[in-house]
């Protein structure tokens, strides 16, 4: 655990990519192979199940640190991270421990089955033997999300350097469902990939955004300069659903979401068509709710994503279908090396013979002769229930991760309103102890009604100024939330708007974010609830 805690600290201590890779390699070279796999599991989101519920952990941490509950909560708001708060509140006297990461993970998995008393005894004893930094990392393993300031790409790069296996291969091999107790380091780095699991997905290829702002649109000439001849490109609508990879191998089917969650059970409507595919087929596409042959807004789909049990009602109200746009494996062969056009042809072949054309759809190609044409067609995105246009180079291979050059997303402008900030709350992570989470309101007569929360969009300098304003213009405090003097106006952008019974304003926004701070606007000139309702298109 010492090495793992040190790894965390060292990664925190540098912002330089090369240095991070060096630190990762040093770690890999200094720990046993089982620790390498456990670390890899943690850094790729494969955390052990929570062994103790977090209310109990909090209660025991308060006991150990001997402070009242409210002060514990306030401390948490200052620190912005539960694991770190608990580590900071405890004495730094320690009895020391030489257990490896693997041993700790084993204990964590073990304790889950024990009684509450046994859990408490184990946890207090564990805290007592760890130093401050180890305790922080240990708490991270026990609670909440395990996010590290290092991307999976860097971990892979370090691993590729020490194992002499290509990064793309490693990225592929660590996809899907594996746990460190069943997948060994030897298997990971062997020449021939014998350990391949039939459920294992391919790494997703992600598009780069074509950057533009509402003030500065990309012209047809700009696109010509950046992307070359329009004839080299294939265009499709950019669908607003759940990106998924669908696998049929060895008589079994698997549906993976982009977050590498196995979501096969979430979409029973897709099972028949997937089962009917030939073995050794992998498709890439978007899952959307459909009604009368038309895609519905993401909002509808969202209502069923979080559900554990899919009731009959939900299946009837928001039935899903796939819009497929790529084929990654055909007849048992990894065909990611083939060109976009070749893969498209194979995909069309598969779709042409399906018995389930209602569920297995294909993303239609947009016909266009030049960039001017396409810019005009893009204007119809909203009518198509699409977010914009996807551009794919006809000669491109299917690559790993977000790569510049061959796949581009050209989104339409977000909708926007000018709104007044009325509540603020402290952020987390690098925004801890700074007011960065804001609630915005628009006018309803002479009252301000809250309608959206947004966290991102301001620069660090702007955040500091807003934080400064909030700290000096607080009207009331409700726990962590401050009511702020309504004065600052921001332009809020969003991708979609829907009716909502859960919100006071009666509307719910999709992806709200701050576009800019309207220093030029007094609060009286902010938008009204009527102008938002008008966007509902009713």
């Amino acid at each position: 655990m010492k090495a793992f805690a040190q790894l965390f600290l060292s990664l925190d201590e540098t912002n330089k990519t090369n240095e991070k890779v060096r630190v990762l390699k040093e770690y890999f070279n200094s720990v046993p192979d089982t620790d390498k796999m456990n670390m890899l599991a943690l850094f790729t989101g494969r955390k052990p199940k929570r062994p103790i519920n977090s209310t109990l952990i909090r209660t025991w941490a308060m006991e150990v640190s001997n402070i009242p509950a409210w002060l514990f909560e306030e401390s948490y708001h200052v620190v912005g991270d539960l694991a770190e708060t608990m580590a900071l509140l405890m004495d730094d006297n320690t009895t020391g421990s030489n257990k490896t990461l693997t041993e700790w993970i084993a204990e964590i998995n073990d304790i889950a089955k024990k009684t509450e008393e046994e859990k408490k005894e184990w946890l207090l004893a564990s805290w007592a033997m760890l130093d401050n930094q180890e305790r922080f990392v240990f708490n991270k393993l026990l609670t909440g999300s395990f996010r590290v300031g290092v991307s999976q790409n860097l971990v892979i790069k370090a691993l590729a350097d020490i194992s002499d296996i290509e990064a793309a291969t490693l990225t592929h091999r660590i996809m899907g469902s594996w746990m460190p107790d069943t997948y060994t380091y030897e298997q990971l780095i062997e020449e021939q990939d014998a350990a391949a699991n039939i459920s294992r997905p391919y790494p997703f290829f992600l598009a780069y955004p074509i950057q533009e702002t509402s003030e500065k649109q990309k012209s047809a000439e700009d696109l010509e300069t950046a992307l070359g001849d329009a004839k080299d490109w294939q265009a499709e609508w950019k669908w607003d659903g759940i990106r998924a990879q669908m696998i049929k191998r060895g008589g079994e089917i698997f549906i993976w979401s982009r977050g590498e969650d196995l979501a096969t059970d979430k979409f029973p409507e897709l099972h028949s068509f997937l089962n009917a595919l030939p073995d050794g087929t992998v498709l890439d596409g978007e899952i959307l709710s459909f009604q009368n042959g038309l895609p519905m807004s993401f909002n509808i789909l969202q209502t069923r994503i979080g559900r554990k049990n899919l009731s009959k009602k939900i299946l009837e109200e928001s039935p899903v279908a796939v819009i497929a746009y790529d084929c990654l494996e055909y007849d048992g062969e990894d065909i990611r090396y083939k060109t976009q056009s070749e893969r498209r042809e194979l995909l069309e072949g598969l779709q042409a013979v399906t018995q389930y054309p209602e569920v297995f759809r294909i993303s239609a190609l947009i016909q266009f002769n030049n960039w001017d044409d396409l810019a005009i067609i893009r204007g119809q995105s909203r009518a198509m229930v699409a977010e914009g246009i996807m551009l794919k180079r006809k000669s491109a291979h299917y690559q790993v991760g977000r790569r510049r050059g061959d796949w581009w997303k050209w989104k339409i402008d977000p909708l926007s309103v000018d709104a007044v900030m009325i509540y603020a709350q402290k952020g987390h992570g690098r925004r801890a102890d700074l007011y960065t989470d804001y609630t915005f309101a628009v006018w309803d007569g002479d009252k301000l009604v809250p309608f959206a929360k947004a966290y991102s969009g301001l620069t660090d300098a702007e955040i500091n100024k807003v934080d400064y304003f909030i700290k000096r213009n607080t009207l009331e405090k409700f726990g962590p939330v401050r009511t702020v003097k309504p004065e600052l106006v921001f332009e809020i952008g969003f991708e979609g708007i829907n009716k909502s019974t859960r919100h006071k304003s009666g509307i719910a926004l999709r992806f709200p974010r701050i576009l800019r701070w309207r220093h030029d606007k007094p609060k009286e000139e902010a938008d009204t609830i009527e102008s938002l309702r008008a966007l509902l298109g009713e």
């Binding site: 925190d12 912002n15 306030e74 200052v78 690098r430 500091n464 100024k465």
Partner: protein, 349 residues
């Protein structure tokens, strides 16, 4: 009618009506008693200043030609029947707590303070009083400092590694206080110490005041970059990200502040290294200091005043939160220009 308190909180600062003087006022007044020379405590424009003699040269350097009277710790000055004396606050060189006594009633204004002996500021001394006006910049239990030698061991190791790797070492700290504390605790066998002009001006002022500091070299246009790479540069927060600093590339940039105790704050500053080193008292330090005064009332002026005063009340103190304009001298976050905490511009005349 209720008795008028000996010290009051007014729009201009902490005021003693009996003695007709202010302590650390932020608006121009006739008579000001100054706890220490940081800009959010020592403003320009008062007709008369009283401060500790070790603040003398820094105050003159920063505020220009002011009417300044200085005293030793423990010396008593009488103003309209009110006795004033200064006691060490341990915050920076020359920093003082102000003890005010009238007809047997004693109030103490802490200014900023820390309880750990930093080796260069006269160590903090608790003063018995009826009412204590305290700062609480780090008044949350998550702030618990490690002993200074441990921190400087880390600083020196980092410097040594940088020299080996051939990169310059730039360490950032406030120009009065942190800069000298760092300077006095470096392992000078590793290399030479270079300073930014603002810091060197403060060093010179302190040396004029008779303070003995380790040797430093002011960085000028002609200072060879290769030499700097082997040494260590002490720079003020305002120099972070400026072309001045970029000239040292490649460098490793370390930041010394109590805020570095929190991972998020450290990441936000994007420093290569964050050293948890503060000139303010930590949680235990604050509570210990308040307890040692034996005070009947305690007033919290700046920092986490709301939660800290609530906690003090829960453990039996008569604690109150008051609003002042004292700022945060450990932060390098950009703050709007109207705030009174910017100190690194040098002379404000």
């Amino acid at each position: 009618m209720a008795k008028q308190p000996l010290l009051e909180f007014t729009d201009s600062g902490i005021y003693c009506a009996k003695g007709k003087f202010y302590i650390d006022p932020w608006k121009p007044v006739d008579d000001a008693v100054i706890t220490h020379a940081h800009a959010d405590h020592a403003y320009w424009g008062h007709k008369h200043y009283l401060a500790h003699y070790l603040s003398r040269e820094v105050l003159l350097y920063r505020l220009g030609d002011i009417n300044l009277q200085t005293v030793e710790y423990g010396e008593t000055i009488n103003k309209n029947g009110v006795k004033i004396s200064l006691y060490p606050a341990g915050h920076v060189i020359g920093s003082a707590q102000i003890r005010v006594e009238y007809q047997g009633e004693v109030w103490v204004v802490s200014g900023d303070y820390k309880t750990e002996d930093d080796g260069i500021s006269t160590p903090f001394e608790p003063v018995k009083c009826h009412s204590f006006i305290s700062e609480c910049t780090f008044g949350m239990p998550v702030y618990q400092w490690k002993p200074q030698p441990q921190i400087f061991n880390d600083v020196n190791n980092w410097w040594r590694n940088n020299v080996e790797a051939g990169v310059a070492t730039v360490i950032v700290g406030y120009s009065l206080g942190k800069a000298q504390r760092i300077l006095q605790n470096l392992d000078l066998s590793i290399g030479k110490v270079y300073t930014h002009g603002v810091i060197e001006n403060t060093n010179e002022a302190l040396r004029r005041n008779g303070v003995i500091l380790n040797p430093t070299e002011r960085i000028t246009f002609d200072t060879p970059r290769e030499e700097i790479r082997k040494g260590l540069v002490i720079a003020p927060p305002s120099s972070v990200g400026t072309p001045w600093m970029r000239k040292f590339m490649p460098y490793s940039f370390g930041y010394c502040s109590g805020w570095m105790a929190i991972r998020g704050a450290k990441r936000r500053r994007a420093a290569d290294r964050g050293f948890v080193l503060s000139d303010h008292a930590d949680w235990d330090g604050l509570i210990g200091a308040i307890d040692a005064t034996g005070c009947e009332q305690v007033y919290l002026t700046h920092g986490y005043t709301a939660s800290f005063s609530r906690y003090l009340r829960e453990i039996g103190f008569d604690a109150h939160e008051v609003h002042t304009l004292y700022g945060d001298d450990e932060s390098i976050d950009t703050v709007p220009s109207e705030t009174p905490v910017e100190e690194d511009g040098g002379i404000t005349i």
